[in-house]
């Protein structure tokens, strides 16, 4: 008898647990797990959104890997942006965070300034940078002109369009700075004091203590940054439309154009699946780091 009541007690408890988690279980199945399965299915079909999907086996993948040079180009562009922006963001973010950490009572003011662009809405920011990047009238090239530098065409140049978008992304570095700052403040000051007693200078302290102690945070920022940057879309959609010479056609823009402009949803799904499979190892690495770091 008591055993039964305990079991029913737990059953009831379990039921409440499921009930409370129900919104998320529904969301997880409908908006994440279901769509992943559906993407895999659609990638083996042609689908124009009007007539029912038609099964064509591996045809989409065959075209993707053997005949369509634009996918590799888009993949290259995406990786260029991912690694370029994340490397510079983390490097500059770390440097600025270390400087800020030494800024004493002025830290608050500088932090306010560096973080401000993070809260600005993305679309107005892109319009703003389109003005700044104008080759003749833009602020950047006029500034370079002071030093006699004939600035590049930025968004209108196949070579400089991606660096321009990366440069713009650096403006939103405030989030990373704040994260590093929190990490820096978690490093026990005794470590520095001990090392200083051993005669280490500031630069040595940075490499011997700061960087190793921050390694998990750096890793975290690199991997979340890469995943986030892999989804770059609005920048190209609004600022360049993917040009010039497809130099800013990122994978997500290509998927959007194929799915919603050319209405080749099957082919677009195949690209999304390939991108997913490429990014999964990255996801696993990140997950491992996260699990080691966060206690759950």
């Amino acid at each position: 008898m008591p055993g039964k009541s305990i079991r029913s007690f737990w059953k009831r408890k379990s039921a409440i647990g499921y009930l409370f988690a129900a919104p998320w279980i529904i969301g997880l199945v409908c908006f994440i797990l279901g769509p992943i399965v559906a993407s895999f299915f659609l990638s083996f079909t042609t689908y124009d959104g009007i007539n029912p999907p038609k099964w064509i086996g591996f045809m989409n993948y065959k075209i993707l890997f053997t005949l369509d040079p634009s996918f590799l180009k888009a993949l290259g562009n995406t990786f260029y942006y991912m690694f370029g922006s994340v490397f510079l963001k983390v490097l500059l973010g770390l440097i600025l965070a270390v400087l800020l950490n030494n800024a004493g009572k002025f830290m608050g003011i500088f932090r306010t300034i560096f973080f401000l662009p993070v809260v600005l809405p993305a679309v107005p920011v892109m319009f703003l940078w389109m003005m700044l990047f104008n080759p003749t009238n833009g602020l950047i090239n006029q500034f370079l002109g002071i030093f006699g530098i004939n600035g590049p065409l930025w968004l209108n140049s196949p070579t400089w369009s991606k660096p321009a978008i990366i440069l713009m992304s650096l403006w939103g570095i405030g989030g990373i700075i704040v994260i590093f700052l929190a990490g820096l403040q978690g490093i026990p000051t005794e470590l520095y004091e001990a090392a200083e007693l051993d005669g280490a200078n500031k630069i040595q302290l940075f490499w011997k203590i700061t960087v190793p102690m921050l390694r998990p945070v750096i890793f975290f920022n690199v991997v979340t940054g890469l995943i986030g940057a892999s989804q770059v879309f609005a920048e190209a959609y609004i600022m360049t439309g993917g040009g010039p010479l497809e130099s800013t056609t990122f994978v997500n823009l290509m998927i959007y154009k194929l799915a919603f402009k050319d209405v080749q949803m099957g082919y677009a799904s195949a690209i999304s699946v390939v991108m997913f499979l490429i990014l999964v190892p990255l996801t696993i690495v990140l997950f491992r780091i996260y699990r080691r770091q966060a206690e759950f």
Binding site: I50, P135, N150, N156, P244, K261
Partner: protein, 421 residues
């Protein structure tokens, strides 16, 4: 009691049926005329239509900005939520017709007694025909013309009443107009082959070339196309791709347009360009002629079609509205107010419109003008042609190799289409 109840029910049913009979059929109509005189004109046409169909059909029109319109429309079609009637690209009607999304208007035109061959210009109408049906009607079409700045001609010592006729003359004149500044950038350009509506395919046609061979296949690497691309690259290289692009970035179209600001001697533009000139540069002294040609005179046309969805619940009403919209009176009103070349020939040929020189020139140019050939298996081939041209201009490939590559791409796209349809 019982009698009273059944009487009430009968009355209720009667009221319901009268309401449902009286409620007009609602037709949703999406278009790109979201501002200015074009919007006012369309609104007026729709109001007129609604008035004359009071109680029967009510058209609800929605204008969406040109930049967003196309994606919005495609997405709504993919979601099965497209409006009953919509404006679309006249260049690829067949693509949609073949997918089954468009309503064949031929039976409705027949019933209405419209003689389509008499009513519409031939070339635009032909873009709407597929397998014996008519899947759209041409509302607006256009032509490309050469606009030239007479003051810049005089300044360069050229006769402002003798515009260039051939491509050779064009460059001779252009070189006289072009001026560089101290940094070596172009202050004034005679002509820029990469600006405004100057497209490579028009140059190919002007060279006597074609993209469709005798067998009806899409061929982009014929010797004449390769030759044209080689010449095209030479023209650009002579002026410097970098410098031309800097020029383009400095003068984005619109208010800052190079021609409007007197920085460009000659420009290939749409026939409606004159309305921008009227608004932004009322004092500019300019002339308009047909585009110079290397071998034979040609122009490029495209336009907007009006289409009805085959999934519309009110096909009769939708077709009736389309036929009205493209009929003589509304088309004439649109042509007169917006100065756009309407597809309705009878409206476009109205004597008062033809008395305008530019209008007459546009209508005449329609005779030598062509549409891009439509290829069902690969409708966006011309976008890839543009990319190929860019690749060559940037020196990433040679004309021959780049066009050969494109030809391979075309063949696989066609193969893919055949495999999946």
């Amino acid at each position: 009691m019982k009698l009273a109840r059944s009487f009430l029910i009968a009355l209720f049913i009667l009221v319901l049926t009268t309401i449902s009979f009286a409620a007009p059929v609602v037709i949703k109509f999406w278009h790109v005329y979201d501002a200015g005189i074009a919007k006012q004109t369309i609104d007026q046409v729709v109001t007129d239509f609604n008035k004359s169909h009071e109680g029967k059909i009510r058209v609800e029109a929605l204008g969406i900005s040109f930049w967003d319109y196309w994606d919005k429309l495609r997405i709504s079609i993919a979601a099965g939520q497209e409006p009953d009637v919509f404006v679309n690209d006249l260049g690829d009607v067949i693509m949609r017709a073949s997918s089954g999304i468009l309503l064949d208007l031929a039976p409705y035109l027949k019933k209405a007694g419209t003689d389509v061959d008499k009513t519409f210009f031939k070339a635009p109408l032909d873009m709407c025909r597929w397998k014996g049906g008519i899947y759209a009607l041409p509302f607006e079409t256009d032509v490309r013309l050469l606009f030239y700045n007479k003051d810049l001609f005089v300044k360069a010592g050229l006769d402002p009443n003798r515009p260039p006729k051939t491509w050779n003359e064009l460059w001779q004149y252009a070189d006289k107009i072009t001026k560089k500044n101290a940094q070596g950038d172009y202050d004034v350009l005679g002509f820029n082959p990469l600006y405004a509506q100057s497209y490579f395919w028009m140059y190919v046609w002007g060279n006597g070339g074609d993209f469709i061979d005798e067998k009806g296949n899409l061929v982009v690497n014929s010797s004449i196309v390769v030759k044209s691309l080689t010449e095209w690259k030479q023209m650009v290289d002579r002026l410097g791709l970098d410098k031309l692009q800097k020029f383009n970035a400095t003068y984005p179209l619109g208010l800052n347009d190079a021609f409007i600001n007197g920085k460009l001697g000659m420009v290939i533009q749409n026939n409606t360009f004159f309305s921008q000139l009227r608004d932004y540069a009322p004092n500019l002294n300019y002339g308009v002629v047909q585009i110079p040609y290397p071998v034979k005179p040609v122009s490029w046309s495209n336009g907007f079609s009006i289409e009805a969805s085959s999934r519309s619940r009110n096909k009769d009403a939708a077709a009736e509205f389309i036929i009205y919209l493209t009929s003589k009176t509304p088309s004439y009103l649109f042509a007169k107010n917006v100065s756009s070349l309407v597809g309705n020939r009878e409206a476009a040929m109205s004597p008062d419109l033809m008395s305008n020189e530019l209008w007459k020139l546009s209508v005449q140019t329609l005779d030598i003008s062509r549409f891009r050939p439509f290829v069902l298996e690969y409708p966006l081939w011309y976008e890839d042609l543009q990319k190929t041209v860019e690749t060559v201009l940037y020196g990433k490939s040679t004309p021959q190799k780049a066009l050969d590559d494109l030809q391979k791409m075309i063949e696989t796209q066609i193969q893919k289409y055949r495999l999946t349809h």
